[in-house]
Symmetry: C2
Subunit: 312 residues, 2 copies
């Protein structure tokens, strides 16, 4: 199975309001609640693609119970979340129907204890025995050591399990040094890491920091992939309008499913770009539009980039 790790899982609430105005009272016209946190989004997309998928991370309190109920309701993903004393956080996306804009409110999440982190490490180690590939996704909750992802990357590699890392800041910097098979930062995260705003240059620098391969999401310009075998870029044939929430997580699912199925690097990139675009076009945030995906995965092409591989 494919394993996804979400250390800072959440219940993602989407509120639709006619028009958001600070200092006013708003009647929410539509409420949507779904399992949240990047790794859980990745798991849902992998399950929709037909992969046997398990999600681990933390859940606690009544909100943790709600998260698990939502995950079970959605189906397809095995729940291997570790129970915590602190309550699972919520995120609220307020969609302004007049402007189409989204305002995001993210709870910080519970403070995890050292004992809870140790319990998680045990669970993670056991799960790796049956895992074909693992994705480590999202921010770290309070209480988890900043080198958490480095430790999880090393454990996966020691178990011979390919590992993808999708995080930012210091956890990304430390995680890269542990040599993940693939890192998937966006252009901003790459720039923050390397100081370079030129994505190809920055992706190559990120490889030198430890990642065997780097897939950088470039928004409307698609995605850039730099590996030991070469570098490619792919983008949707036309700019797609919609809600980009979860598009990066769908890209991770595309990359991981391609890895498990043993398809080539450029084919993985095409799959990631098609899924990402199909997510932007979906009605609900974090879902993907299957018709768009089926269309785009035959139309998106990966263009090989010139220049010596590994050059800065």
């Amino acid at each position: 199975m494919i394993l996804t790790v979400t250390l800072n899982a959440a219940i993602d609430l989407t509120y639709r309001v006619p028009h958001l105005q600070p200092h006013r009272t708003h009647r929410v016209t539509e409420v949507d609640a779904r399992p949240g946190g990047k790794g859980l989004n990745v798991a849902r997309v992998l399950a929709a693609l037909g992969h046997r998928t398990t999600a681990t991370g933390f859940a606690g309190g009544t909100t943790g119970g709600e998260l698990r109920a939502l995950l079970a309701e959605a189906g397809g993903v095995t729940d291997a979340l570790v129970e915590t004393a602190g309550a699972t956080r919520r995120t609220v996306a307020v969609v302004d129907e007049a402007t189409g804009d989204t305002t995001q409110l993210n709870e910080p999440g519970p403070h995890l204890t050292p004992a809870e982190w140790e319990t998680f490490l045990g669970t993670y180690g056991e799960l790796l025995a049956d895992t074909e590939a693992v994705a480590l996704c999202g921010s770290l909750p309070p209480g988890v050591p900043v080198d958490a992802y480095a430790r999880l990357v090393r454990a996966a590699r020691a178990a011979g399990v390919p590992v993808l890392l999708d995080t930012s800041g210091e956890p990304l910097r430390r995680g890269l040094a542990a040599r993940p098979d693939l890192a998937k930062p966006n252009a901003d995260e790459l720039a923050g890491l390397t100081g370079s705003t030129e994505p190809l240059r920055a992706a190559r620098q990120a490889r030198r920091r430890g990642a065997h391969a780097v897939a950088a999401s470039l928004g409307a310009e698609g995605m850039l992939l730099v590996t030991a075998e070469g570098a490619w870029q792919a983008a949707p044939p036309v700019a797609l309008s919609g809600n980009p929430t979860g598009a990066g997580d769908s890209a991770v699912a595309g990359l991981l499913s391609g890895l498990v199925e043993g398809v080539s690097w450029p084919a993985r990139l095409v799959r990631a770009v098609a899924l990402s675009a199909a997510t932007v076009r979906a009605r609900s945030a974090g879902e993907f539009d299957r018709a768009t995906y089926e269309d785009l995965r035959h139309r998106v092409t990966a263009e090989a980039l010139r220049g010596p591989v590994g050059a800065g």
Copy 2:
């Protein structure tokens, strides 16, 4: 005991953010969750005043479980909520720490079935047998008939239980016709009901529509009370700054506790105004500051208003 009815109960979330800006992502720095809905606020204040208090209404889903857990945690209030299939709603108050302003997002709540409403009527009837006074508070959830409060007022009066009504709009208009012992609209609600923006005139008109007595909250100007025995007004000695959330609910608790203890109408008014002001001064929304209350209940005075009682 004192019974409070909250047909549209909620989990009230308060999010503190450094500065709310539409179309941005915000990290919530502080999360507070408490039992919400006006009747549950009233129940908490009554319990804090030492009254044996029971709360009824509806709760359902995992959010209903969370509501009940929060109510049990707060202590002092007996949970007589009726289980529903639909999930209890949330409300989110976003406090902008830069401006002090609050932006409110209110979920609509679940649609109740006729069977759930009938079950509630049975529970309510049983609870009335042991009730000294009852408060009917807040808006009606979808699915409950618009004359719901009229029916609950009549049942209380038939059981010989004094009944206070605190709602607005059509449910208030219909509820008044069933002759509650006391109605507590605010100035806006009174104006909406009677067409008069002059509070004393409007309160007298509301009495003619059926309420035996009317207590109208006037914001910083305190509160106006019109009864068969006379009319009074009371206000805090100085204008108090703070968060007015729950101030009206604390006033209801003050009026109801005074009724049960058999104190005079002006003494009930003083208690309501002191509790209301102590709520504005509290650190958390919906709590009251006990020192402020103890100070004000000896310093607030009720001024008798001239003019023939009942004159329009």
